[in-house]
Amino acid sequence: MNILEVNNLTIGINQNGCQFEAIRDLSFGIAKAEVAGIVGQSGAGKTLTALSIMRLLRKEAFIKKGQILYKGADLATEDMAKIRGSQIGLVYQNPFTSLNPAYKISSQLLECTGSVKEAKELLELVGLKSERIFDSYPHELSGGQCQRVCIAMAIAKQPQLLIADEPTTGLDVTIAAKIMELLVGIAKDKKISLILIGHDLGIMAKYCHRLMVFYHGSLVEEGSVNDILDKPKHSYTRKMIDCLKKPKSHYHPPTNHQLPALLEFKQVVKKFPTRRRLFRHHTLEAVDNVSFKLNEQETVGLVGESGCGKSTLANLSLGLLKPTSGDILFQGQNINGLSKEAKKQRQIIFQDPYSSLNPRMKIKKIIEEPLCIYKVGDKQARTKRVNELLELVGIAQKDAEKYPHQFSTGQQQRITIARALALNPKLVVLDEPTSSLDTSIKAQIINLLKELGERFKMSYLYISHDLAMMPLIADRIIVLYQGRIVEQGSAKDIFKNPKHSYTQLLIDSVPML
């Protein structure tokens, strides 16, 4: 008998007076001691499913029809206080906000366990040194530690079913992998059924026995991991699998002819004064003795996890920050004394396109702005240029009068590309340009960037945490770890024989088939 049975579940949401169905006719079962994965993009209804099992839906969401049976009993009629925690445990998305900031870990753990001894045993079970953690406040812990505490709380009353909803959100890849292993390990040891929820098919495939693919509120496909990977039935599943396969199948052909260096870092050090607020999220990343070259018409990928110094490097290369020591040369000139003409040659594209467009300016004005700043051409010439640029990035000219919020995220990113191209730059810094985009749009933007880069002979400094995307666009890859370059080389070399152990770790945690 299945431990959990979801039958014809439909969840409605009230929003601004209208009602819509976020989940339609969902049915699935979870067997004893299995690890089942729910995969889908954001908005597919994964979290809603988890919360409806716990009966913890937010006010605006409600179960319209269908039932959820736990060990054969309908949860609608059960006393949930006896089920939550002791029968079904939940590990929630964001470890930083899952713990109450006002209470020590000890106090929050003791709500779940009877004795201090038990609580400390639990902490050791999830791999934490109990003494120090026990007396800490949540903000004194790292994200990984917080999530371990959450796991300890979730399994404290020995539930039979554990739901982990995107348990690694906001964690670095290497830590995320350890958290996943911990969860799966505990499920195996204690013979708990585990529902893992995630958006990354590659990671999910690695840890689950069985996968369920959610798409727009419906279960579109389910089966064993091998079945799904080998014979995907639904087009969305196929698309996700394609994305995983690409890096291995073909590398971006490296440019073999040597061109002069466009941007050069010579032993650059950037230190930040120790700041009073030691808030992890805002710590500025230092850069330590970094040297590299970016040649003309070349794309260099800069990869590393959050906090490794990527963004600092991006800001340094644009002159937004000054290095503590060392030199940064652009076209052979020191970056601090650049002429206006040379400054025009550098542009940047940010991660979140919406926030990089001034919401109170029309698209036309936004794209025109760099031309205005450098007083290029007269009004007519600028309008002509704006239309040209819009066409280049595939936005209709009639949309020039619209405001940024009237476009989709993908289109917004196209607009920022158009703005970056306005002055015919030689160097464009791409700071995680695709990480806020959906999988299918990601590829389109990468292709557009590639095409424009070749056509206008631009160099890209492509910054990302996502090693998997790198081979698609980068000629060379630089791996950054704690502010230092630990490895650099062609995409092929890096993937085939990584030299540094950290690179190896990164590659291992990249889901690839």
Binding site: R58, A81, E111
Partner: protein, 311 residues
């Protein structure tokens, strides 16, 4: 934490100096007319005036005058009243206890009524009561304190003849002024508490707490309330200083013999040293209270204790 306390202390000392400079400038530089003439009276001859000038140091350069002024302040010398020829510190010492008692009574009402009503407005399922409490507190915020005092005086003192309308004779004469003074603060406490309860009602840690199997009342009174109380307690703490200063209008309406009444009488008499020094003392109390509350807040909020800046 110690670093935070030191920083706040340094900032407070700086602000105190700034305040003293402003008040010094107002009192000795911008004041229309010659203070010596105000002290000596209209009929005094030139040599008397000169002697007073000399005695007060008014013939010295400005910065020296400022040093004398602050040195006197540090010694507890707040100047001499034009009208009564008495040291201002004496007059203030007489008036201060009444104001303090009034502010204390107001803060007690504020804590009890404000916190209870705030929680009740949030918890209650009866929409009408919530709406009434919310609307009532919104309304109170826009009512001038002195007007509210007059209404209470009119209703309970004149119409119903239940409570004394003025003076400082009995405990009963404290009731109306204390309610008047606390009214706005009660309204603000209700608002702040309800808003912060509402703001964190969707916090992830509450969802996780429920998922652990805690009951709704455990979630509310343990997890939700403690976080929501932090801004409320901060406000209440700072409010004591504000109430001391807000007492001015209330005291005038109820003829309550505190610093407010002293200031009003001095205004009518144009007794500038009394006005300025009374205000100086009230402002200093206000600043010191803010400082103390900030430090206490640091102990309440673990994040500040760790040395983070919380906006």
């Amino acid at each position: 934490m110690l670093k935070f306390a030191f920083k706040r202390a340094a900032q407070t000392i700086f602000v105190l100096f700034g305040v003293s400079i402003i008040l010094f400038l107002v009192m000795y530089v911008v004041v229309p007319g010659d203070p010596a003439r105000a002290i000596a009276g209209k009929k005094a001859d030139k040599s008397t005036i000169k002697a007073i000038h000399n005695k007060l140091g008014l013939d010295k350069p400005l910065y020296q005058q400022y040093f004398t002024y602050t040195a006197n302040l540090a010694k507890g010398d707040l100047g001499t009243s034009y009208r009564y020829r008495r040291p201002v510190q004496e007059m203030l010492a007489e008036a201060m206890p009444a104001t303090f008692v009034l502010a204390l009574a107001a803060i007690i009402i504020e804590v009890i009524l404000g916190v209870l009503a705030g929680i009740y407005a949030y918890v209650t399922k009866i929409k009408f009561i919530d709406a009434a409490i919310t609307a009532g507190s919104a309304f109170l915020i826009s009512v001038p304190v002195f007007w509210l005092g007059m209404i209470l005086q009119y209703t309970f003192g004149i119409r119903l003849n239940l409570l004394p309308v003025s003076g400082n004779n009995y405990f009963t004469s404290l009731i109306l002024p204390a309610i008047t003074l606390s009214a706005i603060s009660v309204a603000v406490v209700i608002r702040i508490l309800k808003t912060s309860l509402k703001e964190n009602q969707n916090a992830d840690y509450l969802l996780v707490a429920r998922a652990k199997g805690l009951s709704e009342s455990q979630v509310l009174y343990k997890h939700q309330l403690k976080n929501a109380l932090i801004p409320t307690i901060t406000y209440i703490g700072m409010d004591f200083g504000a109430l001391m200063t807000g007492a001015v209008a209330t005291e005038i309406v109820f003829n309550w013999p505190g610093v407010g009444l002293l200031i009003r009488d001095a205004i009518l008499e144009r007794d500038i040293p009394v006005i300025i020094s009374s205000i100086l003392v009230l402002v200093v109390i206000y600043i010191l209270f803010n400082f103390l509350v900030d430090i206490a807040y640091g102990y309440l909020n673990p994040k500040v204790r760790a040395g983070e800046k919380v906006a």
